[in-house]
Symmetry: none
Subunit: 203 residues, 4 copies
DNA sequence: AATGAATGAGATTTCATTCAT
DNA sequence: TATGAATGAAATCTCATTCAT
């Protein structure tokens, strides 16, 4: 189903992600750092990618896509909006680094870097309406409104945006040290989840 | 009250912002570009800033701060939450480039760049609880709850986050071409505004 | 008589010449290009040649030698200087690419490249007084002076040089677009041929 | 009259020529070598030239042009063809390195290198019919035929080519060790010179 | 105080050559 | 024997920063 990656490609992808998790600055990553971490020669990377930007963009894309796919699978098993969003939030909580990577990707999409341009290309080429947080949220909402009252197009857009933004907030919360405390985190999760459900109900 | 800036400093700040508005990539800006745009010598910039990152970080900070200050002044004149948020959203709509700059600053705050480190220092040093969108939102909410029922600390945090995230969304919306259509924009503004008020009311 | 070449060796030689004819720059040819054109593996080339320079030098040498041999055969059949030189010039005209290759070889002989060093070695090792334009011209002249007045050693050197340089000119002429016109080319060929004969006669 | 060169530019030009005289291979010269020889920083070279090829091409051009200009001045003072050509040949003899540089330039003009492309551009931009050996020879011939019988266009072309090629031969002769012997060199010079005059007379 | 020419460290990228298969 | 994936040395070029003017 999903494209097969050569071991060297995967090594590059994972090296970039590890570096990101170690707190590296994606905009000033060097090819030497990446290939060093990946355990391959500098020249080898250029057998698989045509330049540094492609390496980094594809690495972000690869990881985000695989995380989104995971999320999607889990979400499909849940019955209603509440459980779906709850699943998502807990999954994100379990896999903060992957969620962080997704967040970084989304920030990068708009920073005018060469990397951002590559990312946009990747999204144009590969994207299939099933991955990507926004499309993802839209799917969940469409399921919810399958039968019963349907909101207007504008209201739908608003809801997508609202849920999307709350999930982003959730990722930001998870990165704040004050939410390392489990009870506070639980409490915040519940508030966000309730907020989302309330919005969908009342619109 | 606010620090005085020398003309050369301001020239640098404005040059950075102009470059940003022209679509430059802040992570690959060169000192030559900045000083060229500012109309001063490269060496001169180093009389006022100790390195490139400081120039960019301070430029973002300067502009965001001044935009926030403007927002704050306007918001103070409004009576209730609805009008305050409405004012904010319309102001942002009028000044997309400045809002964009603020958005960029916020993205940068978490990208581990040297610039991000400088920005964090600036916020530590200079921040005075009045500027910055988050603190800003908190102020508005505290005003709103001055008399009457006060939400719990957690609920308060949630509301801050919710409003903050919706404002970010608003900026993102304004950058999407499909919202160049005025009626759609108006409709979305109303939905977001109502959403915020509803959240505050029902919590 | 002539050394036998393995098919892979010949493939390399011909690949280099084809690339040269396609307008490649011999100094920046890559092994990948050569072996790609030759249709063999990169490693294989190193079974036959010890490095890139050897490949190119031998390829030039191979082609020049074979062209010279052809010329020599044809020239031997002619009786007198006029017919010999005429044959040569017409042959060169028919096979401009091969002549060009010879010209390139001669230029390279003096450009201090690693390739030029290899070429010089080849000429030292292999050269057998029968190939190579200079030696070639000398032979023709010696035939001419076999019986009758012999010029002094210096005069002989001068004549070799004169004929040699006129042949080089002929190759240059053939590469100029203004001599694509047949009548002009014929006229120039006649002038050069007459010039050569006159010099030999009058010295 | 002639363009002014900045000291750094001239330093680069002279460095390239010195390296050439020391037997360097122009196709594999490195920027580090050039700037090292020139006694300037690597980056400095890029303030004046946009890439390595430009440095080398302009260096060859600069030197050849100045040598041609010298030749031209001297030649103008001579009255007839014999003396003009004699002057040229003796001048070349005195300044073998400069002549060699000119020879190298002429070889390079046709080697499909990036350098060759730059050289061709330079000739297109700057050339003014007074420099360059070919144009140079044409001028001398036109002077010679000013009054008296004029040869046909084709004959004229032939003569230009013949003289040009003999001068090239002269440079090649000067690089051969067997002509380090003065009497042989004198003898060869006389033969070439006579040959040229004879050709012009008899055509 | 202001400048911008000069610098060289450091980044990306290429490619000849090796060597395991 | 033939291959081409892997390598890393080495090259070009950029650009933040300095410093003489």
């Amino acid at each position: 189903m999903s494209k097969e990656y050569s071991p060297k490609e995967k090594a590059i992808y994972e090296a970039v992600i590890e570096l990101l998790e170690e707190g590296a600055d994606l905009n000033n990553l060097t090819v030497a750092e990446i290939t060093g971490k990946a355990g391959i020669g500098k020249g080898t990377a250029y057998e698989y990618f045509s330049n540094k930007e492609e390496m980094i963009a594809k690495a972000l894309f690869y990881n985000s896509e695989s995380f989104c796919r995971q999320l999607y699978k889990g979400v499909c098993k849940e019955k209603n909006l509440h459980d779906k969003v709850d699943y998502m939030m807990r999954k994100i909580e379990q896999e903060v680094p992957k969620a962080k990577c997704l967040l970084r990707l989304m920030n990068m999409l708009s920073d005018n870097t060469e990397i951002s341009r590559r990312l946009q290309e990747l999204f144009k080429e590969v994207f299939c309406a099933k991955e990507g947080i926004v499309e993802f949220v839209r799917n969940i909402l469409e399921d919810e409104f399958r039968d019963g009252k349907t909101p207007s197009k504008d209201e739908m857009e608003y809801l997508v945006l609202d849920i999307y933004s709350k999930i982003i907030c959730w990722v930001m919360v998870l990165n704040e040290s004050k939410y390392e405390d489990i009870t506070r985190r639980n409490s915040m999760r519940a508030l966000i989840l309730d907020g989302i459900c309330r919005e969908v109900r009342t619109i």
